[in-house]
């Protein structure tokens, strides 16, 4: 769900970036954060709470609340709301505290 028309802002067509979300091919645009690219695709569940495994999504969008932490290129607990999307990035939903031996 991307904004097409806006009375004040203009959103120019930017370069398409492909990446992997949970092993599947996905795409966003240059200037996207990982979270905004996923959101545009309709993906709302980004993470899970550690103890009760409750689904979690974007909440603050300024890198403060940890609700959007995901595994990015094998690195857990990446704040996807403030991490820019990069071509061929491997993004995975996180379900635990994060494992330092995580494989992408």
């Amino acid at each position: 769900m991307r904004i097409k028309e806006h009375p004040i802002l203009t959103f120019e067509e930017k370069k398409k970036l492909s990446f992997f979300f949970d092993g599947k091919e996905a795409y966003g645009y240059e200037g996207d954060t990982i979270a905004s690219a996923l959101h545009a695709m309709g993906v709302k569940v980004l993470s899970h709470s550690i103890e009760l495994n409750r689904p979690r999504g974007l909440y603050c969008a300024i890198g403060n609340c940890s609700s959007c932490n995901m595994i990015v290129d094998g690195k857990p607990n990446v704040r996807t709301c403030v991490t820019m999307l990069v071509e061929n990035m491997k993004v995975k939903t996180q379900v635990n505290k994060g494992d330092i031996y995580e494989k992408d």
């Binding site: 959101h39 979690r56 999504g57 909440y59 603050c60 969008a61 709301c81």
Partner: protein
């Protein structure tokens, strides 16, 4: 160890203004910003600001951000900017430790201005952690910075200025705003913002709040209800609404964690949004040469953050021996601007809060 006379933590309106005024006075500084760009929360604010011309009234936040960023870039020989950098440690001997690209960097400085801003508060209700429930500011970022919509049918919780403005911006982006809920019996924000929404047919429900959220993996429905004068839900007043996004706009709290880390004297002041440092009339904390500017010492508007930034930049420079050629005139002007911004009935709670933290 890297050495610099002034470290400014936070590249929002307060931090950028502080750097500019310090540079004008002849003092070099380093701005640390954890986001990938400077400008703070102004970069998503498409509405025009109030205040006076000196704080860029009638200018959109996104344009004020450009002005402030350009001001700082003009002094590229004096102001160093590190983005994507998080402060991880702050010590009394004025050593600041940073994390950038997984590298640990130590900086030794003479003065620090903490301008970290504030973060959105959360609200307690059943299933308030479901994806699809956002801070109102987060939705503003998503829409106005990234051009992505949070959903199609949205309810806003809170009718303060942020709640009202973001509701209006949701409509501008093509989203259906079902209603705005306000727990109090009166609308919290300015009448001009509320009227704009009402004209578009948005119902602002006073004495109403969210009772619970419903959904398996993400938000599908909400239950709202009417509140009595003790803010308890009135039985039988519940109503179910089908929504795919809910925005929480129940105020901000200062991001003052770093101040607690360095050990400045702190106080909880609800009028200012939470835990804030004690300060003197020049925004110096209980630790010498550690200053604050902006929302971190009390939640206000960007306009006051800008002026507080100018003021602290000016004062810090003087303390370190760099006196601005127009020091006296500017000092009095900044003080007067802050006084004016806080005058009137909307500034009353703020004025009382600030009295409580004067040391």
């Amino acid at each position: 160890m890297k050495k610099i006379d002034l470290v400014i933590i936070g590249g929002g309106p307060a931090g950028l203004s502080a750097a500019k005024m310090a540079a004008e006075s002849g003092l070099s500084s380093l701005i640390i910003e954890r986001n990938f760009k400077i400008g703070g929360q102004l970069v998503k604010q498409t509405h025009m600001f109030f205040g006076s011309e000196k704080q860029y009234a009638k200018t959109r936040g996104i344009d004020i951000a450009k002005i402030l960023v350009n001001d700082v870039l003009k002094y590229s020989d004096m102001i160093e900017i590190m983005t994507g950098t998080t402060v991880v440690g702050l010590y009394k001997d004025k050593v600041v430790t940073l994390l950038k690209d997984e590298k640990y960097i130590k900086v030794k400085t003479k003065a620090i201005i903490i301008a970290t801003g504030a973060s959105e508060k959360v609200l307690a209700f059943e299933k308030n952690d479901l994806p699809g429930i956002y801070g109102a500011g987060a939705v503003q970022t998503l829409m106005n910075v990234h051009g992505v919509l949070p959903g199609h049918n949205v309810v806003m919780v809170g009718s303060g200025n942020i709640g009202l403005i973001v509701s209006y911006q949701l409509i501008q982006a093509g989203v259906n705003v079902l209603c705005v809920l306000e727990a109090s019996s009166e609308i919290g924000g300015y009448k001009v913002h509320a009227s704009k929404l009402k004209r578009l047919g948005v119902d602002i429900k006073t004495s109403h709040s969210i009772k619970k959220a419903i959904g398996k993996d993400y938000l599908e429905r909400i239950i709202i209800g009417k509140l009595d004068d003790k803010w308890e839900f009135i039985e039988g007043s519940e109503e179910e609404l089908i929504v795919d996004a809910l925005c929480i706009s129940v105020g901000l709290s200062p991001l003052s964690n770093l101040l607690s880390m360095i050990g400045t004297e702190m106080k909880y002041v609800s009028y200012l949004g939470g835990l804030v440092p004690l300060i003197d009339e020049n925004y110096e904390t209980s630790i010498e040469n550690v200053f604050v500017a902006g929302d971190v010492c009390g939640v206000e508007e960007a306009s006051s953050a800008i002026v507080e930034g100018y003021l602290t930049g000016l004062v810090v420079a003087k303390k370190l021996g760099y006196i601005h050629p127009n020091y006296d005139k500017l000092y009095l002007d900044f003080k007067a601007q802050l006084h004016n911004l806080r005058s009137g009935p909307f500034g009353e709670k703020l004025r009382r809060g600030l009295e409580e933290i004067m040391r």
